[in-house]
């Protein structure tokens, strides 16, 4: 909708007695004030900032046009982080999605204690991400339980340095992300499964379909909207995933587990390159939006 459409709808159309009733807007006033002050205004400021070079906030600035955007897009570390985000995102979306679907199907059988299993599987979702990250770092550390088991059983001779290894750091963070997200996906998919009416399966059974055929022909297609929702959430979440990586590896060693959001944080708040950071932020936003659009488009456009 264009701005003028919006304005016409908002201001010109009168209620039945010919005068605009203002009271509904009063209910919305606090929310709108909050958004204007703490969201719209600062975002406009930042958009302007993304075309400027600033030494320090509030200090002198020079207009540099699109240079900040060019700097970000020409930064090899940006592309390195983008690649890591892609790997991290695929791992953090697809693995919990498959595991979550598996768990949802198992819990949905109504097995004994299925309610309790559902609670336990969902539990990691509410655990503070800093606590989860530190616990996994400790589990995988050189004094950790995992190395304890590996060394005691003789699988390795000395403790593995999971988080200090350029090849194992990112998979280690992914392990924690999978732990934290599987229950989340399970709950969404379980709600989708429970929305499928039983008589669809009964009809399929009359037709002599096997379980696998029913899964392929009934469950998966009917779960499609729920799966697409989890994909979109996952993509947006993997672009903005920060705390998991920052707490466990800070993007290291030497940027080997750097993702887009940890590198963004370093540029803005460790190197204080606010102009470049502002441009980076909008690139991130555009990326999250574009990826979500692609998923929605590929899925044939759902009602979302």
């Amino acid at each position: 909708m264009s701005v003028t459409d919006f304005g016409r709808k908002w201001f010109s159309r009168d209620s039945t007695d010919g005068t605009l009733n203002w009271s509904p807007y009063l209910y919305l006033l606090p929310a709108l004030v909050l958004y204007v002050v703490f969201l719209v205004y600062p975002m406009i400021e930042t958009f302007i900032l993304s075309f400027q070079h600033v030494r320090r906030l509030g200090g002198a600035h020079t207009w540099v046009g699109l240079q900040n955007y060019a700097t970000v897009l020409n930064d090899p570390l940006f592309w390195k982080s983008a690649g890591d985000t892609l790997i991290f995102g695929i791992g953090m979306v697809l693995i919990p999605l498959v595991l979550g679907l598996g768990c949802a199907l198992l819990v949905n059988t109504g097995i004994e204690y299925s309610g309790l299993f559902r609670l336990v599987l969902f539990l990691p979702v509410v655990i503070p991400v800093v606590v989860a990250g530190m616990t996994f770092g400790w589990l995988l550390g050189t004094h950790g339980l995992v190395n304890g088991i590996l060394v005691s059983t003789g699988l390795v001779s000395k403790p593995m340095r999971f988080l200090n290894s350029s090849t194992l750091a990112l998979p280690s963070v992914m392990l924690m992300a999978v732990w934290k997200r599987t229950g989340y996906y399970m709950v969404i998919l379980l709600a989708g499964l429970q929305a499928i009416p039983d008589d669809v399966y009964e009809a399929a059974m009359i037709m002599g379909k096997t379980r696998w055929q029913m899964f392929r022909r009934i469950t998966l297609p009917l779960l499609k909207p729920a799966i697409i929702v989890t994909l979109i959430i996952g993509i947006v979440d993997s672009v903005k995933a920060f705390a998991q990586v920052y707490v466990m590896t800070e993007g290291g060693p030497s940027h080997s587990s750097e993702v887009l959001s940890t590198y963004f944080y370093k540029i803005a708040f460790n190197y204080f390159q606010f102009g470049k950071g502002a441009a980076y932020g909008f690139i991130l936003f555009a990326l999250a939006l574009a990826l979500s659009m692609i998923v929605i488009r590929l899925s044939g456009g759902t009602e979302i």
Partner: protein, 296 residues
């Protein structure tokens, strides 16, 4: 299975042949065992956190580690609370979590009510606007808010962080409360309106009490989200006296070696207990809320 099920013989659980009974019970056992193994895998990290928190200093760095703490002790909890700033950090976290929850609900409730109940020009685009803001990654707000907070002297204040959270969680809260109102019958409000009661009184005396379950569910989410949040707290809180527990844990971890990890995980455990209690009490609201929210 109910007695009047029209097609009992088609349900595999009701199958009468011995072979099928065997297959079905084998299947149930496998399902149970898989779920049990997954559950244990989920719980091991949490167990390890608690186990570490109960180990005395001389056993924390032991390798290979004792799976069960040899001499469990609460000393790490007492020492950490005694020596560190943990009390202040817990206090800050409680103030910020409760403050954010109350502030966000106070702003979101009237907005959601008006969007769900009133017909007025712009209602639909405004609702879409609230939804659209849900899609914005938190990072994009970091620099804008930081720039603004520097101007308003809100950096390193609890109020600043609460306003940042309220802005970020508002769309979500309006959305959740909106769906609550759409499912809530309107009879009482209409009756009051017929009785000539003013709109503001209807909102305060009738809508507010009726909205309690919706407010509780939304409040639980807000409390847990705020309690666990890290990125905003790390960015906007810079003085040690202002830290929340998440930032405090991270800083403590950076400053200490493995020996004091028993204290680190003691405080981790302590900071996890409130969210687990809230989750245990409101688990159904929580799970229904998430599932319903995402499937809308």
């Amino acid at each position: 299975m109910s007695v009047d099920d029209p097609l009992p013989e088609l349900n595999d659980d009701a199958s009468t042949s011995a072979e099928h009974v065997g297959a079905s019970s084998w299947r149930r056992t496998t399902t149970f065992v898989i779920l049990l193994v997954v559950s244990i895998a989920i719980l091991v990290p949490l167990y390890w956190m608690v186990a570490t928190s109960l180990k005395p200093e001389n056993l924390v760095g032991l390798f290979p580690p004792n799976f069960v703490p040899a001499k469990p002790t609460l000393a790490p909890y007492l020492n950490a609370l005694d020596q560190g700033s943990w009390g202040t950090w817990f206090f800050n976290t409680i103030v910020i979590s409760v403050g954010t929850t109350v502030l966000t609900l106070a702003i979101a409730l009237p907005a959601a009510y008006a969007l769900a109940r009133k017909e007025f020009p712009g209602a639909k685009p405004l609702y879409v606007l609230f939804l659209g803001i849900l899609m914005i990654p938190a990072q994009i707000l970091l620099i804008p808010l930081y720039v603004l907070f520097v101007k308003l002297h809100l950096v390193n204040t609890r109020l600043g962080l609460m306003l940042a959270y309220a802005t970020f969680f508002l769309g979500f809260s309006v959305f959740l409360l909106h769906s609550f109102f759409t499912n809530l019958p309107q009879n009482l409000e209409d009756a009051a309106r017929v009785g000539g009661i003013s709109e503001w009184k209807i909102f305060l005396r009738i809508v507010l009490p009726l909205a309690k379950p919706g407010l509780a569910t939304t409040g639980v989410f807000l409390f847990v989200f705020t309690w666990n949040e890290f990125l905003f707290a790390l960015t906007f809180l810079q003085g040690k006296a202002m830290y929340t527990i998440s930032v405090g844990l991270r800083v403590f971890q950076g400053n200490h070696n493995t020996v004091l990890y028993n204290q680190l995980f003691a405080m981790s455990t302590l900071s996890t207990i409130p969210v687990i209690l809230v989750f245990a009490y409101f688990s159904e609201e929580f799970i229904q809320g998430i599932a319903g929210l995402e499937l809308q």
